[in-house]
Subunit: 312 residues, 2 copies
């Protein structure tokens, strides 16, 4: 492990990718409270919601109210996921700082998720770019199924690079490589991150890993060692995948921050604050969460020795 | 990641470290069936039980019957955990191929777990070595809390190396570095494994990681890259830690084998066979298990695309 002087930037995505598949409705006021608490934890980026069809993602149908209700702290970029121009207009109207567009590397996944072919997604992104040019908003493009598709299997790495180039050609500066259903492995990550970093600066590249097959943090370390510096993660490991009932979702923010604290990679994030937040999630959502450190505590949270050892 | 031509050896420990804290009694016949099924999966080593006080570990009080009931397959080493000479006599009487002795690097943990000081443990091991010299049995020495102690916190690496030297001086050839409560991090693992490999050959060194804080597989990769080649793991991620209720236990065998398959490290283990076995554990034990791949499937287990995409 090298370059540990370089901070690792965590973009917290629990309010968006975390909550979007929760079956329990989370009240707008609770979403706002979650984001406001996250804003106090030291994050520089929070994906705070999405502006998609309320029919497609009913759990996030209150995007406007959430973005308008949060207390914005200076220096934090509040990101909104959008699927198209209509979403972009709503997000800009709600003062999102950054628009995160998404399409899949795999044609079948794009058809299933966006209900259009990849080519049509790129055309629609052109409209978003034109609109955004007239507004003070950043753009990021996510590539879902970068590391594998649950319908098609392996995804050609050259295909991913072509989409990166297409984003850059459109004028979309930030790029997220997303392991949507947790199919990435560390060797693949190392290889692809190195290739993408030849095109995109480390400050513009985000890695989005899911822990579906238990490899999320391994993939973070592999990407970090290959030069990546920004990672999505969700409090408690919120989120999930409709194809893996019971399996983990996003990599867990507090587990990632604990890893960084233990190996000496700076994140600027307050782990005890995160742990207090994470431990409140089961009451909010009605189920346990996959995060480990919230259950086990930090290494420095020592236990009292059993009394009987005094008599030995 | 280098040296991928070198196989990674998985020692399956679910029958011992996995079952020992299960609150549900597992019938002797079911333990034997579990081990016999594991013997068909491609493992070269299985920790099949322990010979400790039935009062201390009631879940494993049938060690003799288990070792006498299993169908031994040629080439597989069936290991027994033992705490002392009495356990060694029982294990050898039950034809265990290898005795795994255990003490802790931390004095407080050894007092809590073995009810004696570390010095007394080493004296007792001398008796086991003398006894074993007259029998066809291998010896391995485990060092619990190698990477941290839940009572004392950080463990001095020189202390661990002194215990490795003490084992070697006694004539104990195999050494296991055990992360008993999941406190290890990849950088620490890399550093310590390199130092221990100056004393112990890679074929005699085992790493035993728990996934208590989500870092188990990260630590395996760090150890593998530092030259370690043998790892303990438990089917389904069985096991656990009394200090971390709800947190994961041992690293999960099928998740580890899936990682190796994906990155191209040879294990010789039949992953589909393991997944079938793991998926039967919840019915046997009455609860879900932390393993991920048993829930998510392998990457190559593709899903049918939704029917509506044909109409788009």
């Amino acid at each position: 492990m090298k370059n540990d002087a370089d901070p690792l930037i965590v973009q917290e995505v629990s309010p968006r990718d975390g909550l979007q598949i929760e079956p329990t409705w989370v009240e707008t006021v609770d979403k706002i409270a979650l984001i406001d608490q996250l804003s106090l934890a030291g994050f520089s980026r929070i994906e705070a919601g999405s502006f998609v069809s309320p029919k497609a993602i009913p759990a996030l149908r209150d995007g406007e109210q959430v973005f308008q209700g949060i207390t914005r702290r200076p220096g934090i970029i509040y990101v909104a996921l959008i699927p198209n121009l209509k979403g972009a207009v709503r997000a800009v109207g709600s003062r999102a700082d950054e628009l995160n567009l998404v399409m899949s590397a795999s044609q079948t996944h794009n058809l299933a998720n966006m209900r259009m072919r990849c080519e049509a997604s790129l055309v629609a992104f052109g409209d978003v770019v034109s609109f955004a040019a007239d507004h003070p908003v950043r753009l990021n493009g996510s590539i879902a199924t970068t590391f594998g598709c649950p319908f098609e299997g392996k995804v050609d790495e050259d295909r991913v690079l072509q989409l990166v180039d297409a984003y850059l050609a459109l004028g979309i500066q930030g790029v997220t490589l997303a392991d949507t259903t947790g199919m990435a492995n560390p060797r693949q990550v190392e290889r692809l991150v190195k290739r993408v970093l030849e095109r995109v600066g480390a400050h513009d590249l985000t890695l989005h890993f899911h822990n579906t097959r238990g490899l999320g943090l391994c993939n973070v370390l592999a990407a970090y060692e290959a030069g990546a510096r920004r990672f999505d993660a969700a409090l408690g490991g919120l989120g999930g995948c409709p194809f893996a009932p019971g399996a983990s979702g996003n990599i867990c923010t507090e587990d990632l921050v604990n890893l960084c604290d233990e190996v000496g990679i700076h994140t600027g994030i307050d782990l005890p604050h995160l742990l207090r937040m994470s431990r409140q999630l089961p009451a909010l959502l009605g189920h346990e969460l996959p995060g480990q450190v919230a259950k086990a505590g930090r290494n420095c949270d020592l236990h009292p020795a059993p009394g009987y050892i005094a008599t030995l």
